[in-house]
Amino acid sequence: MKNLKYSILTLLTVATVSSCKKYLDVNTNPNAPVTADASALLPPIQAGMARGVWFDTRYIGAYAQVWGTATANNVWDTEGYLPASDSNGEMWRTVYFSLGQNVLLMWQDAQAKQKWDYVGVGYAMRAWAWQTGGDIYDHMIVKEAYDPSKLTFDYDDGSVVYAKVVEECQLALNYLNKAIKTDGLTNNPGLAKGDYIYSGDRTKWIKFVYAILAQNQIHISNKSTFSADKVVKYVDSSFVSNADNAGVQNAGTQSGDSNFWGATRGNLGLFRQSDYIVRLLDGRIFTGSATPDYTLDPRIKQLISASKDGVYRGVVGSNGDPNAADANALVPWLFADGGTTYPTTASKTQRYIYNDDARGQFMTWAEVLFFKAEALFKKGDAPGALAAYTDGIKASMDFVSNPPQAANFTGTQGRITTAQINAYLAGPCVRKTAATLTLADIMQQKYIALYVWGALEAWVDMRKYNYDTNIFQGYSKPAVIYPDNGGKQVYVVRPRYNSEYIWNIPALESFGATKPDYHTTKPWFILP
């Protein structure tokens, strides 16, 4: 009897202990999911990539003099920065927040279900983010990133960021190839479900990874370790047409899913095209003529806008628009030909990439061809450089003529005729012989090809050549330089204020990022 009593008691105790766990298992959030299918996680990550680039492009475009502000001495036009502000910190958010834990969660699902292409795409996007982030910020948090036990995070210098790009590119290639090997598909509907960059085309992702590797290598062209051959090899494995361009789809149904450069977003109210881009397109730089000729480059009507009086004007450095009060002569809003007010009507029939549903571009075919041209030129292979340079111009013309919209990788608008393109190639702006080809030709044609969406890359080039006006012949050092610079030019962007300058200060101090002129420090990648 006593034994029975004790055994019941023991049973009860055991039952209680095991049911304790069950009883307390109510901490799964019923209000929001904590996991999701990889295909549901990928679209916002890709949208976040676009957001990071172009929110910051607003400011970096001013550094690179792609555009300026109508009022004089704008803080960005003077190569300064806004203290105590998150402005120009968006790429930081993209790397760590938009991609960050979301990619890790996507991998969880993809690894478990052996969706190797999602794993590969994750690495490709991360490699792109480290590359883009590293070029903007130089120092980044790589080794300690995403550690949930840490409250503060130590920085790594640019060399670590650059090495991380190569490492993750390699992993991306491994997984993408593994995916193809596993099911034999180059285009996977499973990946297409969440992929708004390449709609599931694994081969295009592989090309994109090579494009990132090429970019990673060409950016360190000042270093003794630089290998032009690697650039050529990577470029040759990357994009072969504008249909391979890395760009993300924009639905264009409301502000939240519309193209950054489209009317619905209304992001461009403050920006005025630069005098530099005007002079590149009206031939004054390439021909050396003092008079503009709007018939030379067919891209001029597509890329930039004329004032009401028909003259193309741009903002010089920090000077602002001297004609801002003159409705006939003021520099118009970016895509408002002759317009004196900001165009707000949503439209999908604008020129170039000013449509609400235009694809947001990360890298283009023309861009990688100019990588190759620059690499070969450095190597001393002038004919090779000339060929790549000529191909780059053609690729740029094709892109401007047929800008991609919605789910299409390329457009069919045909805004520039083949005859126009041939005329330009035969005209005075383009070098026809290897002997006459200069680095300035390559870099400035690249500058046009990058126009409006690629300011980050344009700024990389300018910094790499220390704002050399022999290469960037339309660039002029701003008349007014931000006071904290001490006369020096801007070379790096500060990490995001509300992330680092409040919450991670000791780590910033370790490499001098709290100094008032920190933004004039030269980044690792441009150093010899």
């Binding site: 109510v26 959030n29 209000n31 929001a32 904590v34 916002p44 890709q46 957001r51 948090i141 000791p506």
Partner: protein
């Protein structure tokens, strides 16, 4: 044991036999002096003998005693009384409640414990004291009555929530509210969190009653406050901020009785922010038709001006009716009570109607088995004013002084505008056409209706004399239906889910409905087996038990904009494409095992120990979801020492020490795995929310050391209870902003440490005690310091809800006080001189949050006095506070709006002392500012006012918390009728006066509401109606 009992009874019989022969029989009735009720169980003894008896259920006793011998009447909690046996054979005795009684207190799970055996700080307040204040929210009646308690009423509106914190802020990011227990059963005190509505508000614009305020004060027998972590050792992590243990009134044995009391109150607002009436509307000295700020030209002489806030407030009326019936015998007792309270506020339209029905009963089913149960139903209907930025109070303050705010409608009934009608969402301060306060109250709705049932069951079984098994169970179920409507003609704004939760005005949205239903269920039950045995000089007890808690709170929100029919208050009236819904279900469970042991040696030395293993669902998913913590305490009643035992001066002396640890889980569930948020970008899908959760979360670990002394002099005429405590709360769970490198923008983390220490002194004294006149008093002294030792390497942690207005917020820094105020301040050069903008001549803001104030007072004192003279009864409580800083947000608003009296000298040119920020500011020769500014022409002088100037330091107050004069009608007056057994009348005043150096209306307000975690926004005075002055009178009769 059995043997010794036998001897005890034998001895008892012998003594009775021994004394019987020489005596006569005395009979009599023992009643309570307070209410005349019979007292059963009173021990009546013949002094110096072992001859004794007890009163029966009707208070009657019978004893044999010799003439000339002395009878001693003793009853726990009452003053013992002696009577000499004379010729009379009947001796009726009235016992008074002991002022400084060595009472039994209700500490854990309904188990009463002698206060002698306690080893930590406990304070008990009588229910009658709380009732006499006539306060709607009984928590406010505890203010000044409990040492170590900080109670802040959110506002003076009917149904306002009130926050209580015991012994300071221990969790910078968690809940610091104590646990509430009624008759051994946990009940809910959480107000609705505005963030759970579809509009995801920030707890600023609306207040929601803290649910313990539902309790009818008339049902409270006593409130025992268990301070500090020692309470948690018994009740678990939800009591890490202490516990408030409420014992309700039970039916008494004896003849049945019905009591009825009522109260009629009149409330008036007093103390208003001062508003200038010299200058009219405009900016920079120029009149304007598109700006409402008072920076225009001086008003012509003879212009009629209005004090609009004063004109808008009214006298608030309250009436309360309580009726209770009780009765019972040895076997069963019952009590039924009903309360109806209707409160109208001093701001029009707002009201709070409360109904409470309570039934409690107990029955002895067998000599070994007792059952007690209660059932309480509440119905609360609360119509509210909006508070904060576009709330009624600020609307009244912002109304132009040249215009009578009482004239708020056009002849056709439409809203009378001051500025031209605007359809866009204006946010610049000057261009907001603030609603007229009266129009706002009448056209914008905010109303909560609550139905609640609290039911408790208590079963007690004594299988053996030494063993008790007790089971307690409780259900607390409440539904609240909330209705918020902003008229389509209103400039008031709130968060809208349609615009990414940005603020949207009624006009811009075309009218807003933001409703919710909150279903809150709290179930808890416990079983305890308690063994008590005495071994020689050792009296021991051991209790082992288990507790289960299961809470669920489901808030369904439904939202819509764009009314089809103007001002028709239904979500059905909103445009379908604007309709949004939300659902937030919160489930929390605990499962705990508890053991308590107590050893008392010679009634002199006590050692208590507790162990609790607690499993919390809120940590489920981590390795530490089940955690253990102990407490240990000891006391020494040194007056039991032979030399001190019969000391006439020091009658009772005890020193005590305790150490307790408590593990504390996160304040809310679902903080382990990060949650995904639906995205509106191309392709939709999910991405992580800004706040990351953390699978590595560990329970916060709080450690408290408590040292105390309890002293009583002159037989309890003078008493002191002194406590010193140290609190160390490590592994703080908070969700700071941190580096994005975490992958999130905010993240739940363990980090940092908080230390609190303080002194609490409760003095009780009875300077005069004669037959007709008594005077007793109590004094509660509190001095506490809370410091944030570290934030785990982070520089700052803030609660964004407290970022109410401009750049002032409740945030903590390493080394700062736990109730720190941070704000922007003046930018300065390296030498500390103020930097001046060389173009405007105005000072520059540092644009950084720095330590600007500390809301923690240096000390506070609650001083209560109680006089009785025959049937007259006068008591009052004064509250004195010294130190602590207040953010005068109203004054900052009025300054930026040109209405503050500090803007009156605007015609006088000034040169702001400082140096120009011209590049030389940090050189050896900075340029001194010589730029002259005439604020009249350059109102940037006021609109750019620096926030830190509006934090008022070292605030002192003396406040008449409450005063009550009562008169009990003498028996002679009641003698000839049979209806009333007893009757009394009273008049009570609450918050009659406030003397303070604070320049605003009242420093005791809360900028958010009591649901805000951490230190909240107590001491943030912005757009909140202060507590009005109230005078109540009423009668109380016993049938």
């Amino acid at each position: 044991m059995k043997k010794s009992l036998l001897f005890f009874f034998l001895g008892l019989c012998c003594s009775i036999v021994q004394t019987y022969a020489q005596t006569k029989a005395i009979t009599g009735k023992v009643t309570s002096a307070e209410d005349g009720f019979p007292l059963p169980g009173v021990t009546v003894k013949v002094k110096g003998t072992t001859n004794g008896t007890q009163t029966d259920a009707t208070g009657m006793y019978k004893i044999s005693a010799a003439s000339g011998s002395v009878l001693v009447y003793t009853f726990l909690g009452m003053e013992s009384t002696e009577r000499t046996v004379g010729d009379a054979s009947a001796i009726n005795v009235q016992l008074k409640e002991s002022a400084v009684a060595l009472k039994e207190v209700n500490v854990s799970f309904g188990v009463k414990q002698s206060s002698r055996d306690l080893t930590s700080a406990v304070q008990t307040i009588k229910g009658s004291e709380i009732q006499s204040t006539q306060r709607e929210n009984f928590l406010n009646a505890l203010n000044g009555r409990v040492a170590g308690a900080t109670i802040t009423s959110t506002s003076g509106n009917p149904g306002a929530s009130s926050a209580i914190v015991l012994r300071g802020i221990n969790s910078v990011g968690g809940n610091n509210s104590p646990l509430f227990v009624i008759d051994g059963v946990r009940v809910n005190n959480d107000p609705v969190d505005q963030a759970l509505l579809t509009s995801n508000g920030a707890n600023r614009s609306a207040d929601f009653t803290n649910r313990i305020a539902d309790l009818n004060p008339d049902d409270i027998e006593s409130v025992t406050v268990l301070k500090g972590a020692d309470a948690a050792a018994v009740y678990g992590s939800s009591a890490s901020g202490g516990a408030i243990v409420i014992t309700t009134r039970k039916g008494r044995t004896g003849a049945g009785a019905i009591t009825y009391d009522n109260s009629f109150s009149f409330s008036t607002a007093y103390r208003f922010p001062e508003v200038q009436t010299t200058f009219g509307i405009g900016s920079n000295g120029v009149p304007s038709s598109t700006d409402r700020r008072a920076f225009g030209p001086a008003l012509p002489a003879g212009t009629t001006t209005y004090q609009n806030l004063q004109n808008v407030v009214q006298t608030g009326h309250t009436q309360v009716h309580n009726i209770a019936a009780e009765g019972g015998n040895d076997v069963a007792t019952y009590r039924i009570s009903a309360s109806m309270r209707n409160t109208n506020g001093v701001l029009p339209v707002a009201y709070n109607d409360k109904l409470s029905l309570r039934l409690s009963g107990s029955a002895k089913i067998s000599p070994k088995f007792t059952s007690t149960a209660s059932f309480n139903y509440f119905n609360v209907d609360n119509r509210k004013n909006n508070k904060g930025a576009t709330g009624t109070y600020l609307n009244a303050l912002a109304w132009p002084t040249t215009d009578d705010a009482r004239n708020y409608e056009n002849p056709d009934g439409s809203r009378r505008l001051i500025l031209p009608a605007s359809t866009t969402n204006v946010t610049a301060e000057g261009s907001v056409d603030f609603d007229n306060p009266l129009w706002d109250i009448n056209h914008n709705f905010s109303r909560d209706k609550t139905n609640r049932v609290v039911s408790t069951v208590d079963l007690s079984y004594d299988p053996y004399k030494w063993l008790n098994v007790r089971a307690l169970g409780g259900i607390d179920y409440a539904t609240t239906a909330g209705n918020n409507m902003i008229s389509q003609f209103s400039s008031s704004y709130q968060n809208s889910p349609l615009s990414g939760f940005a603020g949207t005005s009624g006009i811009a949205a075309g009218g807003i409905i933001d409703n919710y239903n909150d279903n809150n269920t709290q179930l808890n039950g416990s079983v305890f087996a308690t063994a008590k045995k005495t071994f020689g000089d050792f009296r021991t007890s051991l209790a082992v038990g288990a507790e289960l808690i299961s809470n669920s709170d489901d808030v369904n929100g439904f939202y819509g904009e764009k009314f089809s029919q103007p001002d028709f208050n239904s979500v059905n009236n909103t445009t379908p494409t604007t309709q949004r819904t939300s659902d937030y279900l919160k489930r929390v469970r605990y499962m705990s095992g508890i053991a308590r042991a107590s050893v008392v040696y010679k009634e002199m030395l006590t050692l208590n120990a507790t162990a609790r293993r607690e499993g919390s669902s809120k940590l489920y998913g981590t390795a530490d979801y089940s955690y253990f913590y102990p407490s240990v305490g000891a006391n020494f009643i040194f007056t039991e020492l032979p030399g001190l035992k019969e000391n006439k001066i020091l009658t009772y002396g005890k020193i005590r020490a305790s150490y307790a640890e408590v593990g504390k889980d996160p304040a809310a569930p679902y903080k382990i795995f990060s949650t995904l948020l639906q995205q509106a970008t191309t392709g939709g899908g999910f991405a992580y929310d800004v706040t990351g959760n953390n699978p590595a979360l560990k329970p916060e670990r709080d450690k408290e050391f408590d040292l105390g002394a309890e002293l009583q002099f002159f037989n309890g005429r003078l008493g002191a209870d002194i406590s010193y405590y140290q609190y160390r709360a490590t592994n703080q769970i908070f969700n700071p902003r941190l580096s994005y490198a975490s992958g999130y923008i905010l993240e739940y983390l363990n980090g940092g440490e908080v230390r609190n220490h303080g002194v609490e002194v409760s003095l009780t004294g009875m300077p005069v005690k004669t037959k007709d006149f008594t005077w007793d008093m109590t004094l509660n002294f509190t001095a506490a310091r809370g410091t944030v030792q570290s934030l785990g390497g982070l520089p700052e942690y803030y609660n964004s809800d407290t970022w109410l207005y401009l750049n002032v917020r409740s945030s903590v820094f390493p080394g700062s006080s736990t109730s720190n105020i941070a704000s922007y301040s003046y930018a300065r050069n390296n030498a500390g001189q103020i930097l001046i903008d060389p173009t405007s001549g105005l000072p520059i803001s540092n644009a950084t949050f720095v330590v600007s104030g500390d809301r923690q007072p240096k000390f506070s004192i609650g001083y209560g006095n109680h006089f009785t003279y025959k049937g007259l009864d006068l008591s009052f409580l004064l509250d004195f506070r010294n130190g602590g800083d207040i953010f005068n947000g109203n004054e900052l608003f009025l300054t930026r709006y040109g209405l503050s009296t500090r803007t009156l000298n605007r015609m006088t040119p000034v040169i702001v002392p400082g140096v120009l920020k011209d590049g030389n500011e940090n050189s050896a020769t900075p340029t001194a500012n010589t730029i002259q500014v005439t604020p009249y022409n350059q109102n940037g002088y006021y609109t750019g006012a620096i926030e830190s100037d509006f934090i008022e330091h070292n605030i002192r107050w003396l406040r008449m918390r409450d005063v009550t004069l009562g008169y009990r009608l003498p028996a002679s007056l009641l003698g000839h009728q049979k209806v009333f057994k007893a009757a009394s009348v009273f008049v009570t005043g609450t918050d009659l006066f406030l003397i303070t150096n604070y320049t605003g209306a009242d420093p005791e307000v809360n900028g958010t509401n009591s649901s805000t975690y951490g230190s909240g926004a107590a001491g943030f005075d912005y757009g909140t109606l202060p507590t009005p002055r109230t005078i109540s009178f009423g009668v109380k009769v016993t049938l």
